[in-house]
């Protein structure tokens, strides 16, 4: 026997044994086995020693595991059984917990759905990892990026594949044009997509009829969606039917060649109608020089590039500067001037951006700010957290009921860990039950949520392994968050103290109080936010915008050229202006009350001002009741005032002239315009933005594309009917497209309204849940104080004194919660309101309203309980001891 040789016992078996022997880390048993192993190895050889060791391992590990499993399952079943008994026994608490948690979970699930949907933007397309959009990146004089747009000249569709040969698999170009689609006598204004014939190869929209590769090949084909097919054809079979498209003066018959499933909203390239992009040619037959498909200067197309597998995008992106220098060589000076670049800095380049990243990239025009998503997640977390706090508080407050159970369990031999496991599994069970209800609620609430969020979420989307796993994790997480503190507290209790009887616990718990404080602070915060937001929206809707918006109807002329449009306008005026419900008519070049976009520079000496410009007539100011503070209106005779301009106060201020009226400014630095009047500032845009400089001129040779008519408030439907009938006489090929200006204005604040209602809902939910929790806690407190109340009453306390006694502490808490929430809400809302140029000031009244209403609601909650306790006959409560 070689004395000093040491043999190593099989590693894995030893490890497992160590894992299962609860030997407080000393492993003396494992040590004994190792020693014997050594001994046998020295005597009989390593092989036999191993055999022996495995034998020992097998013999010990199997019973250990069986034992663990058996008792694990047995105890777990017992925990579940007790948990269910408790659920049924204390119904009020179970209901409070389950309602709270399931509402919280509902919020979480809804926001989860929303987030998943938002983040999966454009992921619906197969092969989306290889699809990129071409982004136009503009620079300023210092070489900083100024603006990014998803737009490019359509002609690049021919140049790009050659230039980047081998990298680019497919280029898909998209343009849009508004037009009228005719089927027999039905006219509808529609937006038509002009797309490359390979559109359906790039974007894998499921087709109901038609084949992706050939559906758009023919220039006479048109592809529509299921919805459109229903709108135009009803039950008829759409394929092969004719639809006529009218774009300005161009009219063309298309044959429906395919029907696509309605595109999902969470993709960038949705459509109603698609025709082949070569049809753009129709519009430029008489003027090939301005042909959009050939013109390098026309940045009006969206270009989507599909790359070959395994191409490095950043390498391609580096080549665009050279590409622009070569391709746009002739136009670069023009672009430099446009971007105000004096050096030889390149004015713009292109970049490829994967379409999956476009939703939350707000550096590119049209991208969303991802913080909205964070805010939503934050709100859902708040509601869920408030519900978790209820669970914690009620479990702790109620713990005295379970002292005996805990004591007995401990005496019988439960360790702290076992009790912890028990309470933990109880809270997970409750959270599981709540999740079931929460999902049910989600199912019921989803349509409302869709309305609010403008989404098309479906519950069925939810049923996939990924989401179910997420739900399970969420449930466990919530169960743990809600259960961890009570479990720690309850498992800590010493049985001796319990049985001795004078164990006081929970009543004046600092932790409980701070939790209630948190709940109410958060609720109050949400309430203040709701009030402030809705007030801001009301303010924007009701603020005097500087003109009359009541009863003004806008009608879109839908003609392309100034000549034709003005002819329609004048004709129409003659037909309707004598009708007694039409109080006045006017016309302008741009929609009123919507976001307007045409901006240009006017120059005065070396000064330049960026203005929005409107072509109007002399009726404009009277019709809208816009006040002229200086100068005069355009003269009635259109021809004499063609080189006159009326500006608004903001513009006058920016020009900063001593005597504004009578001066001359130059539009586009070349057209001279004489200022004849100044209007009071009026809000022609959303009140989120400052009133910007505006110039109004009256030139009959410039187009006026929108008719403004003021109608009297009585018999509106009759008036509209009249206007419509006259419209079809004037412009038989165009639908009567009208809207009320005040509706348009309201539409500007849709987004804000959405936020207001989302936050409003969550504040209502949170305060409700918080109050339910308080209700539960108050029940516990009162049940503990029954004797105290009885004795106080015997000694002469009045009902009011007792109610006061019970609610005093609680009231203090809510007041403190107010004090915490106010500065927080003030800070956050101040930040939010900074986005609005015209905003309300956050006065103390918002905080007082929120504070008083929370106190009122909370008092109402506890009052019932306290009064009931206070009027109780003391002989009942102190009869027995």
């Amino acid at each position: 026997m070689k004395k000093n040789k040491i043999y190593r016992a099989p590693y894995l078996s030893e490890l497992l044994l160590k894992l299962f022997f609860p030997d407080r880390g000393n492993y003396t048993t494992v040590g004994d086995l190792a020693e014997t192993f050594n001994f046998i190895a020295a005597e009989d050889g390593l092989f036999r020693a191993r055999i022996w060791y495995y034998g020992q391992f097998y013999k010990s590990i199997i019973p250990i595991i069986i034992n663990l499993c058996y008792w694990g399952v047995e105890m777990f079943l017992n925990y579940i059984k007790i948990a269910f008994r408790n659920l049924l026994k204390y119904k009020a608490f179970s209901v409070i917990n389950i309602i709270g948690l399931s509402t919280g979970l509902m919020c979480a699930v809804l926001i989860y759905l929303y987030t998943v949907d938002e983040l999966s933007h454009n992921k619906v397309y197969d092969n989306s990892e290889n699809i990129y959009r071409l982004v136009n990146i503009n620079y300023d004089n210092e070489g900083n990026v100024t603006r990014k747009f998803h737009s490019a000249p359509a002609v690049l569709r021919e140049i790009l594949p050659e230039y980047f040969e081998g990298s680019i698999k497919r280029v898909t170009t998209i343009m849009h044009r508004r037009g009228v689609i005719k089927k027999d006598d039905n006219l509808f204004n529609e937006r038509v997509m002009f797309a490359e014939h390979n559109f359906f190869e790039t974007f894998s929209y499921p087709l109901i009829y038609g084949d992706a590769s050939s559906i758009l090949k023919n220039e006479n084909n048109i592809v529509i969606t299921e919805e459109i097919a229903n709108k135009y054809f009803g039950n008829e079979f759409p394929v092969g039917k004719e639809l006529r498209g009218v774009f300005g003066e161009v009219e063309k018959a298309f044959t429906v060649s395919g029907v696509a499933k309605n595109p999902k909203e969470n993709s960038s390239y949705v459509f109603d109608f698609i025709v082949n992009i070569e049809n753009q040619r129709l519009f430029y037959n008489d003027n090939p020089g301005s042909h959009r498909l050939k013109n390098l200067g026309d940045f009006s197309a969206k270009i989507i590039v599909t790359l070959n597998e395994g191409i490095n995008v950043s390498l391609l992106n580096n080549q665009f500067e050279r590409f622009v220098n070569q391709t746009f060589e002739k136009d670069l000076p023009l672009h430099r001037r446009f971007n105000e670049i004096t050096s030889d800095q390149i004015p713009f380049t292109f970049g490829l951006q994967n379409i999956r990243n476009v939703r939350f990239d707000n550096s590119v025009y049209g991208g969303k700010d991802i913080s909205t998503l964070y805010i939503l997640i934050g709100i859902a977390t708040i509601v869920l957290f408030i519900a978790c706090i209820n669970f914690m508080n009620l479990s702790i407050g109620r713990s005295s009921i379970r002292f005996k159970e805990i004591g007995v369990r401990k005496v019988i031999g439960a360790k702290r860990r076992d009790l912890f496991k028990q309470f933990w599994s109880e809270s997970v069970l409750i959270s599981l039950v709540s999740m079931v209800f929460g999902l049910l609620l989600t199912y019921l609430v989803l349509p409302i949520f869709n309305e609010l969020s403008g989404k098309e979420l479906e519950f069925s989307m939810f049923i996939n392994p990924m989401n179910l796993l997420a739900i399970l994790i969420l449930t466990l997480f919530v169960g743990t968050i809600a259960g961890i503190y009570p479990s720690l507290i309850l498992s800590k209790i010493q049985p001796v103290k319990i049985f001795r009887g004078n164990f006081n616990f929970g009543g004046k718990n600092f932790f409980t109080k701070s939790l209630i404080l948190t709940q109410f602070s958060l609720s109050i915060f949400l309430i203040i936010s709701t009030i402030v937001l809705s007030d801001q929206i009301n303010y924007m809707l009701n603020k005097d915008v500087g003109y009359d918006k009541e009863g003004i109807i806008t009608v879109e002329v839908q003609e392309r050229t100034a000549e034709r449009s003005n002819a329609v306008v004048d004709n129409y005026f003659n037909k309707i202006k004598n009708y007694n419900s039409v109080l006045g008519v006017s016309a302008t070049n741009d929609a009123f009350g919507k976001h307007s976009s045409s901006r240009s520079y006017i120059h005065k000496d070396d000064k330049q001002v960026l203005v929005r410009r409107y072509n109007v007539d002399h009726n404009y100011f009277d019709l809208l009741n816009i006040e002229l503070i200086e100068g005069r209106n355009f003269s009635r005779n259109l021809s004499t005032d063609t080189s006159s301009v009326i500006i608004n106060e903001a513009c006058a201020k920016e020009l900063g002239l001593a005597n504004t009226v009578g001066e001359e400014v130059k539009l586009f630095d070349r057209i001279p315009l004489k200022i004849i009047g100044i209007t009071k500032d009026y809000n022609f845009q959303s009140l989120q933005e400052r009133i910007s400089p505006v110039i109004l001129y009256s030139r009959p040779d410039f187009g006026r594309y929108f008719i403004l008519a003021k109608v009297s408030a009585i018999n509106i439907s009759e008036t509209l009917e009249f206007m419509k009938s006259k419209w079809s006489e004037v412009s038989p090929n165009k639908p009567f497209n009208y809207s009320f200006v005040d509706d348009d204005l309201k539409a500007l604040y849709e987004e804000d309204k959405k936020w207001q209602s989302i936050i409003g809902f969550s504040s209502v939910l949170s305060i409700l849940i918080a109050c339910m929790g308080v209700f539960g806690l108050m029940t516990i407190t009162i049940s503990k104080k029954v004797k105290e109340i009885g004795i106080r009453k015997v000694l002469g306390a009045s009902v009011i004194q007792i109610v006061n006694l019970l609610t005093k502490d609680f009231l203090k808490l809510i007041i403190v919660a107010n004090i915490i929430a106010w500065p927080l809400a003030y800070y956050v809302m101040q930040k939010v309101l900074q986005d609005y140029y015209y905003r309300i000031s956050i006065g103390i009244e918002y905080f007082l309203t929120a504070g008083i209403s929370t106190i009122f609601i909370a008092l109402l909650t506890v009052l019932y309980l306290t009064v009931k306790a206070a009027v109780k006959n003391p002989s009942d409560s102190i009869r027995t001891e």
């Binding site: 030893e14 048993t29 040590g31 014997t36 050594n38």
Partner: protein
């Protein structure tokens, strides 16, 4: 007090005989030596645990040794109660055998 079982008695005696070397491996060796049977580790440890629980044995840890892969030994020792229990069982056995010459098979 409950009487010791025979196995417990043997185990206690083995511990007493080994004195300061009374840990798992040697206890098993000792029992094998005396009874001529292989004892499973499991059986020994369960019983040792039970005796510690009954406070007939106490145990302490030694310093780790290399031949055990750096693990300590748990050395067992009789307590006063353990000794009393042994004495008691010995007296009872003695009393039971008192006056019995033989049961007729000793010489086979």
């Amino acid at each position: 007090m409950k009487l010791l079982s025979r196995q417990e008695e043997m185990l206690l005696l083995a511990v007493w005989r080994l004195q300061h070397d009374a840990y798992g491996v040697l206890i098993r060796e000792k029992l094998k030596e005396i009874t001529g049977k292989e004892w499973a580790f499991g059986a020994i440890f369960t019983m040792l645990d039970r005796l510690v629980h009954k406070e007939l044995l106490t145990s302490y840890l030694t310093d780790p040794t290399p031949e055990r892969g750096g693990r300590s030994k748990r050395i067992y020792q009789l307590t006063i109660d353990g000794k009393k229990a042994l004495v008691e069982i010995k007296q009872i056995e003695k009393a039971m055998w008192e006056g019995i010459e033989g049961i007729g098979l000793e010489n086979n």
